[in-house]
C-alpha cells in the first residue's frame, strides 16, 4: 500500500533518530578507535578523506578502503551496519550516476553491449567515482560511529575552528533532536486524527502548515533559549572547555594515520 507523506516523513525522522542513537551507543563501546584521542581521529580520518579525493591511483584508494574496513572491525563496527548505512546508499546513488559514464565516456572499446560500446576510460572513470565516494563515506562514518559528537566538536578547536562556530554546531545538534521530537509529535498526532485520504491540494496545504507551525515553534524556542542563556549570564562570549589528554597509544595512532596518508599521497600522485 502506498504510504502517505505523513508516514514517509515520520519514517525519515525515525531513521535519523535511530542512526543518531546507535552512533552514540557505538561511540561509547571499547573498540580500538573509541580509545583514541578525538583530535587524532578528526585529523587522521579527515586527512585520509583528502588523500582519497586527491589520489589518481585506484589501487591506493582500494588499499585505504581495506584498511578502513579492518579498523571498523577492530572498533566493533559491524560490516552489516556499514553496508546498510553507508555502502548500499552510496553505491545506489553514485552507481546510478556512474553507470552511464561507462558507455558515454569516449575511449577504447573493451566490450559491446548490444550496439553500445563499453569503454576502458568509462570503466576507469566510474571506478574512480564509486571507490572515492565509498572510501570517503566509510572514513567519515568511522569518525562518527566511534566518537561522541560533543568530542568531535571540541576537537575542532584544535584545528583553529572559530569558537562561536563550535558552540553553534553543538547547540544545533542538540536542538535537532528537540525539533525532531516536536515534528514527530505533530505528524503522529495528525496521522492519528486522519481518516480516509486527502485530496492532493489538501495534502500540500497540510504539509506547508506543518512546516509553518514548526517554524514558529522553532523561533519561539530560540527566543526561550536566548532568555535562558541571558539569565545564566551569557553576554555573547562563548567558551568551550577542552580537557583532552593524549596517551602514548594516541601518538602511535597519529604516526599510523600520518604514515598511511603519506603513503597514499605518494602512491596516488
Amino acid at each position: 500500500m502506498k504510504r502517505s507523506f505523513i508516514e514517509r516523513s515520520l519514517s525519515s525522522l525515525l531513521a535519523t533518530s535511530h542512526y543518531a542513537a546507535t552512533a552514540e551507543e557505538l561511540a561509547l563501546t571499547t573498540g580500538a578507535l573509541q580509545k583514541v584521542d578525538p583530535r587524532v581521529k578528526v585529523g587522521g580520518l579527515f586527512g585520509l578523506v583528502f588523500v582519497v579525493a586527491a589520489s589518481r591511483e585506484l589501487r591506493a584508494i582500494g588499499a585505504i578502503f581495506l584498511i578502513a574496513v579492518a579498523v571498523a572491525l577492530l572498533s566493533q563496527v559491524r560490516l552489516t551496519r556499514l553496508a546498510g548505512w553507508v555502502w548500499a546508499p552510496v553505491l545506489f546513488f553514485t552507481g546510478t550516476i556512474a553507470l552511464p559514464a561507462v558507455f558515454l565516456t569516449p575511449g577504447h572499446s573493451v566490450a559491446m553491449w548490444g550496439p553500445i560500446a563499453v569503454t576502458q576510460q568509462g570503466l576507469r572513470s566510474a571506478a574512480f567515482l564509486i571507490s572515492r565516494a565509498e572510501t570517503a563515506a566509510t572514513l567519515s562514518a568511522l569518525l562518527v560511529l566511534t566518537t561522541p559528537w560533543p568530542w568531535v566538536l571540541k576537537s575542532l578547536r584544535t584545528f583553529r575552528c572559530p569558537v562561536v562556530l563550535v558552540a553553534i554546531l553543538g547547540m544545533t545538534y542538540r536542538y535537532i533532536f528537540v525539533i525532531l521530537q516536536t515534528a514527530f509529535d505533530m505528524l503522529e498526532s495528525r496521522k492519528s486524527r486522519t481518516v480516509g485520504v486527502f485530496a492532493p491540494a489538501e495534502r500540500r496545504r497540510l504539509a506547508a502548515s506543518a512546516v509553518g507551525v514548526l517554524l514558529s515553534k522553532s523561533l519561539q524556542l530560540s527566543h526561550d533559549v536566548h532568555l535562558a542563556m541571558q539569565s545564566r549570564g551569557f553576554r555573547g562570549e562563548v567558551h568551550v572547555m577542552q580537557d583532552f589528554r593524549s596517551k602514548v597509544s594516541d601518538w602511535y595512532w597519529l604516526a599510523g594515520f600520518l604514515s598511511l596518508a603519506a603513503a597514499g599521497m605518494w602512491w596516488g600522485r
Binding site: 567515482l129 563515506a137 569518525l143 525539533i179 506547508a208
Partner: protein, 354 residues
C-alpha cells in the same frame, strides 16, 4: 544536490571553500552586529529547523513527493545573511554526522545551496513582492518563485562544477578522474530533476509557509518586507521608491552611444546591402570563423527587408547628422514608447465598470 566526496577535485573544493569564506565572514559580522547575544541561539535553532525540513516528504503536483532544502523560506523569514549561516550549519552537520554530502565538498555544497540559494531567493522575493502588503497574495507568488528559482540556481552552479571536472581533470588515457560528464550532459541532467521535482518541492514549501504565516503569524514576514503596507491594500509606490530606477534608466540612456564603439557587426543582424559591401563582407567573415558569406543577399532576406522600413533605421534618424545624438534619441523614443504602452495597459486593466 548534496555533492559527496570524490565528485569534485581537491582544487575545485578548495576554490569553493575560498569562495564561500567571504560570505560566511560577512554574514557572521552582520549578524553579530544586528543580533548580538541572540545570534547563537537563533542560528542554532534555525539550523536545526532547516535540517528537519530537509527530511520532510512533500506531496507534489502529479502525485510524486520530494524534499526541499528550505532555503527559500529561510531567506524570507530571516533575511539572506542569517539564511546563509543557518543553511551552512545544517549542511555541515549533515556532512559530518549523517554522511549526506562530502567533507571535502562542504564548501561546494554551502556555496551552491546556502550562498547562491539564499541570495537568489532573497533577491527574487524582494523584487517580486515589492512593497505589497504583508497579507498580499503577491507575496505568496513571490515566495513560490523565489524558492523555485533559488533551488534551480543552486543546481545550475552544481552542474557547472560537475561539468568542468572532465575538462580539467583526467588521466593520461583521457579517463575523467572526478565527475565524468561534460557541461552539455551535466547541465541538462541536473536541471531536469530540479526544474521538475526538487524545484516544485521548494516552491510548495516556500509558498505554502508564506501563505500559512500570512494567516497565523504575519509578524514573521516583516523583517524582509520593509515599507510593506499593513492593511489588505497594496501600498502606493511613490516617486521616492522608484527614484533609483528612473536615475538608472536615465544613465543607461545617456550611455547608449557606447554601442558605436563596438567593433564589427552584430552576428546575424545583417542587411541585404551588407552582402555586397566589401567592408561588411570582411566583418561577417571574421565573425563567422573565416567563412565568406554568399555573394548576394538570400532572396527571402531581400524580399522581407523591403517589407517594413523602420522610422529610425539603425538607431540613426535621417534628420540627425550626429550618430551619438541619434543613439540617445532612439533610446529616449524607445523608452517613451514602452512606458506609453505600459501606462495604456495599466489604464485598461484598472478601469472599473460603472
Amino acid at each position: 544536490m548534496h555533492i559527496p566526496d570524490g565528485y569534485l577535485s581537491p582544487a575545485t573544493c578548495a576554490a569553493l571553500y575560498a569562495g564561500s569564506a567571504p560570505f560566511w565572514y560577512t554574514a557572521l559580522r552582520r549578524l553579530k552586529r544586528a543580533l548580538n547575544t541572540r545570534m547563537v541561539p537563533l542560528l542554532s535553532v534555525f539550523a536545526a529547523f532547516s535540517f528537519i525540513i530537509m527530511m520532510f516528504n512533500l506531496p507534489l503536483p502529479g502525485g510524486t513527493t520530494g524534499h526541499a532544502v528550505g532555503v527559500g523560506i529561510a531567506s524570507i523569514v530571516l533575511g539572506p545573511w542569517a539564511s546563509i549561516l543557518a543553511i551552512s550549519i545544517a549542511l555541515v552537520i549533515q556532512a559530518i554526522f549523517f554522511g549526506d554530502g562530502g567533507i571535502t565538498a562542504i564548501g561546494a555544497n554551502c556555496f551552491n545551496m546556502a550562498i547562491v540559494g539564499s541570495l537568489t531567493a532573497y533577491l527574487v522575493y524582494r523584487a517580486i513582492a515589492g512593497r505589497s502588503a504583508i497579507t498580499s497574495s503577491r507575496r505568496v507568488v513571490a515566495a513560490a518563485l523565489a524558492g523555485y528559482i533559488a533551488i534551480n540556481a543552486s543546481a545550475l552552479f552544481a552542474a557547472i562544477e560537475f561539468g568542468l571536472q572532465p575538462l580539467l581533470y583526467h588521466d593520461a588515457s583521457g579517463a575523467p578522474l572526478y565527475a565524468p560528464y561534460p557541461l552539455h550532459i551535466a547541465i541538462p541532467a541536473m536541471m531536469i530533476g530540479h526544474l521538475t521535482i526538487a524545484g516544485l518541492a521548494e516552491m510548495v514549501v516556500s509558498a505554502g509557509v508564506v501563505a500559512y504565516l500570512q494567516r497565523a503569524e504575519p509578524s514573521l514576514l516583516r523583517s524582509t518586507a520593509p515599507g510593506a503596507a499593513t492593511g489588505e491594500c497594496e501600498a502606493e509606490i511613490g516617486w521616492s521608491a522608484t527614484k533609483p530606477l528612473w536615475l538608472a534608466l536615465a544613465i543607461l540612456m545617456v550611455l547608449t552611444p557606447l554601442g558605436i564603439l563596438a567593433a564589427g557587426t552584430a552576428w546575424g543582424e545583417w542587411s541585404p546591402s551588407d552582402f555586397s559591401n566589401p567592408a561588411s563582407r570582411t566583418q561577417i567573415a571574421a565573425a563567422s570563423g573565416s567563412l565568406l558569406p554568399p555573394a548576394h543577399a538570400p532572396a527571402g532576406l531581400q524580399h522581407l527587408a523591403s517589407f517594413w522600413t523602420a522610422p529610425m533605421p539603425r538607431y540613426a534618424p535621417s534628420f540627425l547628422k550626429s550618430a551619438t545624438f541619434g543613439y540617445m534619441l532612439s533610446a529616449v523614443s524607445g523608452t517613451g514608447l514602452i512606458l506609453l504602452v505600459i501606462l495604456l495597459a495599466g489604464w485598461i486593466t484598472n478601469r472599473r465598470p460603472g
